[in-house]
Amino acid sequence: MKTVTTANSAEKTWGGGDNQPMGASYGKLMMWFFIVSDALTFSGFLAAYGFSRFKFIETWPLADEVFTHVPFMHGVSAPMYYVAFMTFILIFSSVTMVLAVDAGHQLKKDKVAIYLFLTIIGGLIFVGSQAWEWKNFIKGEYGAVETKGGSLLQFVDKEGKRVALAEFAATLPSEREQLTRNKGDWFVEEAALPTYTVAEVQAGFKSHPDLLVRTETINAEKQKTILSREESELRLTQASLVVEGANLTRNEYGSKLFADFFFFITGFHGFHVFSGVVINCIIFFNVILGTYEKRRSYEMVEKVGLYWHFVDLVWVFVFTVFYLV
């Protein structure tokens, strides 16, 4: 072996030497190690989601009823469109990233910078969209009622269209007051009260004879079961809580675990995207400062590129599992 070291490899403190098992440099190999372990982590989460879904297969929420919002189109039920847009954004930012890597191979500094910048913008749009999706999910749209047994009742009209609590709930005089910290005996407070009490929902239901209760159970037509008026009234007497929107304890969409998995998996993925944007920014500034130009190698761009594509890859699976299947 030659003992001559070039200026190039001497500079690479973190290069791991010239020994390249599997024909990949130290840094790239380590990125692959990380990606494999992270992929297994995400597989664990998604498989756990599958476990819970199979456990409650008859009552799991239908995704196209939950994610129906599109910006600037309030009240229009448009499932899939917005999340499809998010998917495109992420795929496109993957494309600009791979173009940046490609330009890096040809040592074209300006092109690398432009493509990396576009990738960062794509990542930011995606994280922003995700935040908006969360906002709608947390806020909820129709509201529902939870029974003593823990199952969820939603309200529909004769055509089976969902009806929001606000459209029929009665207004009753109530003594119930929000316990805030300054009124508590010992720094106690409670979570925000729902807009309506159970009694108000029950009274409102009684005075609207065309309303029906929809249960969580999925019937043979793969729709949620709608009860008859008599059954509806009977079920509603068992109501114990009004549920609006979603949190980690309960949600108005159905199975309690559904919201937990949604928050956890999309949150963990969103955190990956956010980290990716931060790392991309660091690399972007390095490109601009000419760090890799001096090194005559844009391999760093390639490594963060691997991470970024991995984030895109995970989204492809999250998209399928949460929104399609």
Partner: protein
Amino acid sequence: MSHEHVSNTKRIWTVFGYLSVITIVEVFFGILKPEFLHMNSLLGLTLLNWIFIILTLVKAYFIVYAFMHMEGEKATLRNAVILPLIFLVIYLIFILLTEGNYVYEVFKNSTIKWNF
């Protein structure tokens, strides 16, 4: 680096085309849910879900092989990354879904009820 790189721009845009078309097809099926595909199932999974899963795997293939440039890596690296993942993920999914289904049947067929 060891080998000379040529520009792959054409390949990148082709793959972007594939990924876009697949996503559009997925969204199309997701919104329309054709009766035939939605109601008939094969091996415990509806035909529609089979389509979604297969298309997802095709997308994953393109992202890993083209974008992450797996097709340009040595076979040892390819196998070291992909084979353990495929094996472990299939194993994990099989065992968890079987167990989930078992718990479902226990709740359904015995006196234990979660929902009343």
